[in-house]
């Protein structure tokens, strides 16, 4: 009995190992893919951004008044981390928090590719 279950467990482990290896190998690839945005797709998702970030001299009016930052030409990775920080709550701005809450990783990667540089 014991031997049989040991053999079964060993067999199951042997079968699972390659699956785990594949899953581990696939994870970084997926991450990479998520970070690789599509600039053209980003352009189609940028309607919400244009009204503030593409108007030179435009100021946010709430909760405090200051110029909306220049983001065109930032690195894509910074734009990605900024949007994720808003989504996570590490950065707080009512407008940006609301906008980032509705963005998927894919959206963020695409917008970062559109507005950012490599």
């Amino acid at each position: 009995m014991i031997n049989k279950s040991l053999i079964a467990a060993g067999f199951a482990a042997a079968m699972l190992l390659p699956c785990l290896a594949v899953a581990q190998g696939a994870a970084p690839a997926q991450e990479q893919q998520a970070a690789q945005g599509d600039a053209e797709a980003g352009r189609n998702k940028s309607a919400t951004c244009i009204g503030c970030h593409e108007i030179p001299g435009y100021k946010s009016s709430f909760p405090s008044v200051y110029y909306v930052p220049r983001i065109i030409g930032q690195s894509a990775r910074y734009i990605e981390s900024a949007l994720k920080a808003y989504r996570k709550g590490d950065r707080n701005h009512p407008t940006m928090t609301a906008i980032a809450a509705g963005l998927s990783d894919r959206d963020i990667a695409d917008l970062a590719a559109y507005y950012g540089t490599e």
């Binding site: 435009y58 910074y78 707080n92």
Partner: protein
């Protein structure tokens, strides 16, 4: 506070005049919040340059922003948010905490005075 568009349009010249007056006033108010770009440059070399690059344009990590040529008041706002933990980032929190209000004003003025690669025009 809904206002017909026609009324808004009629208000426009007055708003422009108000804006001009405010702009004039803000220029008058500047000496009260004197900023020292040279002091900002010195502080920048001490504190910021190691990560954001000597020119503020060449950060050592792609997740760090280019800050040269960024709006002065946005930079000031960001540093204050880091200082007071409203913007959470372990590295920037630690860097901003020891900065005085004057340091922050000077740093923001210095980096805003540089020519950068970032803009609002595609």
């Amino acid at each position: 506070m809904n206002m017909p568009a026609s009324k808004l349009l009629r208000m426009k010249p007055r708003s422009v005049a108000c804006g001009a007056m405010l702009a004039a006033l803000s220029v008058l108010a500047l000496p009260a919040q004197a900023q020292d770009i040279e002091a900002g440059r010195q502080k920048a070399e001490e504190v910021c340059a190691a990560c954001h690059g000597k020119d503020g344009n060449t950060p050592i990590d792609p997740t760090y922003p280019k800050i040269a040529g960024q709006y002065q008041d946005y930079l000031e706002h960001s540093l204050l948010d880091y200082k007071h933990d409203r913007r959470k980032n372990p590295i920037m929190g630690a860097q901003a905490k020891p900065l005085t209000r004057a340091d922050i004003r000077n740093l923001a003025a210095y980096y805003a005075s540089l020519t950068g690669e970032i803009s609002n025009r595609r």
